[in-house]
Symmetry: none
Subunit: 424 residues, 2 copies
């Protein structure tokens, strides 16, 4: 039997905004991930604007070199949205009005009590012979065209429309062109510096071309991405990744908080639920970010009772019961005030655990003794109280993020310890 030739796959992101300094195509990262899961590699990515000649030429050249073209964007109702027309022209196919599609778009507006603007009518035209990919989250339908022995897939640009459409209507049909088995995992780590991690796992970097290790460092979180290929079987691909994962886990231990893609707030949520604990949060310099992250998790109302953003001293006193004398004596940015905030919110909300965060997010407000980036995070529970002092680097955003990460990680480590204690 002849081995299947690898298909050339190209992702085209269409939109003039992607040729400005302000916008980046991120959809292709999602698509690449999904394609990799199918054992497919991406060979080219092209970004082109809505200039008709550029777009048409780009499509022609892509058709000459790739077997599968996934084009993103330019399916909207405006004049700048020319993807449909450009592909139809290059493929020498007509655009045909589809009445059912128009009705669906009209209904979508109706459900929201609106009438469909005239411009949206354009979205009910379909390239002759194309299959329509339903868009449950927007008005632009996707299109799948088989032409010139190629597969051409047009997807809408908004990620919340593109992603479900790919997963429902594209991925399952690409499955049959799968050539490789792949496996992948991500280890997420917090509480260790990148250079420390690198030293700990230096000798574990694989020499095998079927196995890949990539480290991605963000302030407050390091990710180690492992991926493997196998022509033989899924089991072989899985085994390759799992063996390496196990070796890394033995080195990095409890600093790894997730090996299944979960965010720290999800891990914390699960631990709270598992231990039947509730949480309340008092935030100063993190400004609501901890509450925001916790409530990003569906069902978080079961364990997240209350958050307070207490920027001013007055709010720390009135909303959290921090003593004015304590603030006077140690300053609002101090371990004492962080602990009092954690204790205060725990009592107010009657939660099992309380978090307190106070610091200087900058860019102003720093002093030689208390520089920008100085952050105290504290945790209060029924039998105790603890704090951590950090000096985070980076801008305001990064300092806020690292503060939230540290606070959530204190909860994680506390509950993991507790759990172990119980099991012992």
């Amino acid at each position: 039997m002849k081995a299947k030739k690898d298909l050339k796959i190209e992702i085209m992101a269409i939109g003039s905004e992607l040729l400005t300094p302000y916008f980046q195509d991120t959809n292709s990262l999602f698509l690449t991930e999904r394609l990799n899961d199918l054992g497919m590699k991406v060979s080219y990515k092209t970004i082109v604007g809505d200039d008709w000649d550029d777009l048409a030429l780009s499509i022609k050249q892509s058709l000459s070199r790739s077997d599968i073209i996934i084009a993103i964007g330019g399916l909207g109702p405006t004049k700048d949205d020319r993807t449909r027309e450009a592909f139809a022209t290059v493929l020498e196919r007509k655009l045909i009005f589809n009445k059912e599609l128009l009705q669906k778009i009209e209904e979508r507006f109706k459900r929201r009590g609106l009438s469909m603007p005239e411009v949206n009518k354009k979205q009910s035209y379909v390239i002759d012979g194309a299959e329509i990919l339903e868009n449950r989250n927007g008005t632009a339908p996707g299109l799948w065209i088989n032409a010139r022995k190629k597969k051409i897939i047009l997807l809408p640009g908004p990620p919340h429309e593109l992603k479900p459409m790919f997963d429902k209507s594209v991925g399952p049909y690409l499955q049959k062109f799968k050539t490789d088995y792949t496996a992948r995992t991500v280890l997420k780590i917090t509480g260790l510096a990148e250079s420390k991690i690198e030293t700990l796992i230096l000798d574990l970097h694989p020499d095998d071309p079927n196995l890949m290790l990539t480290t991605l460092a963000h302030p407050g979180q390091i990710e180690i991405h492992l991926s493997s290929h196998s022509k033989k079987s899924q089991e072989q691909a899985d085994e390759r990744v799992q063996k390496l994962e196990k070796n890394i886990l033995e080195r990095l231990k409890e600093n790894v908080f997730s090996t299944s893609g979960e965010e720290l707030e999800e891990v914390v949520g699960k631990l709270l639920r598992l231990n039947k604990k509730t949480l309340a949060v008092a935030e100063s310099c993190s400004g609501g970010l901890i509450g925001h992250r916790l409530t990003n998790v569906p069902g978080s109302s079961d364990y997240f009772l209350q958050g307070v953003v207490a920027y001013s001293n007055e709010a720390k006193i009135s909303a959290l019961g921090v003593s004015p004398a304590l603030i006077e004596k140690y300053g609002a940015v101090s371990s004492q005030v962080a602990e009092a905030m954690a204790k205060g919110i725990r009592e107010k909300a009657r939660s099992s655990l309380g978090i307190g965060v106070t610091g200087i997010a900058g860019p102003s407000g720093g002093t030689p003794e208390k520089p920008v980036g100085l952050v105290y995070t504290a945790l209060a529970w029924d039998k105790g109280l603890e704090f951590i002092k950090n000096i985070f680097l980076g801008n305001r955003d990064k300092i806020k993020y690292q503060s939230s990460q540290k606070a959530l990680d204190m909860v994680r480590r506390h509950l993991s310890k507790n759990k172990k204690g119980k099991e012992a």
Copy 2:
């Protein structure tokens, strides 16, 4: 005199890691900004890996369509670094050993007390006829090649090598090909649907090839990007954008909240400061996001007094003073409770304005009467109280974001009205 034709400019980012889900080319954003400042537009961006055939074909196709090609990456010493060889092959030019270059690379290692690894010798080969662009921050020299009436510029991938090299050895030489003056602006809008905006400004879409209008829609926020070119003068470019901006503003009026790149939370912050008002926020379904956004703005502690995330009924009662009877009668997700939350936090924090947000962020918790996405936002001030009911579409993230956007926009519109009232 014959008018200069617009040059087609292409940026090629070369490297297999850029075809994985984990890495993005960001160098092209820097280059685009610099090129735009020279009045030059980018027409294509291409991303390709180190596969020889893919790379060679990509170079051929780029040469067929573009006048200036800036290729990034693949100039390193490893086997995967094939940019030099691939361009030499496609251009049918030899690679010529350059002794001086080798000495410079050797010296670079020497200065760090190291001897040059054999692999780095490769970097001292130069495409025949190319000009060498000095790299002060790494071993890979850049190359400038004039061939087939095209300009081909090869730059190293690490940003700290590429950026100074472009600014020193490329930008100044491209200056003389400057054909255009450019201007740009962004209008940010909230409170109007994309299709409604499109209808309102339909006839304003410029027919002038020197003027560009691009609409970018996110749930809760629409951006209209305007940019102009002029062959004549900066004044003409500025005037073109300003005229269009003025016309759009007349149509969209107070729905435009920013024309200078500001985020909504920054606009709200400025208005609070200008009107000498303070703000406190009571969040249920937005979960802390409003506080997080407000505190992303440096100096927000001056006007943002306090936030409370009250997910549970108990927290709404104890932390915000909402009456249990009100919750009992209307439900936690109701205009009455939103208003009571706004009033409650305003009193607790003794702020000029209070915001209350309650709704169902999903994915569960919806009923036929109160579906996922139903959100009440309320605003309380010294003389009144108002609420808005919305049904937002999208997932949990999107519903949270739109809730925060609506609440901040209520503050903005309230303060803008007030200001006008005072001025009248």
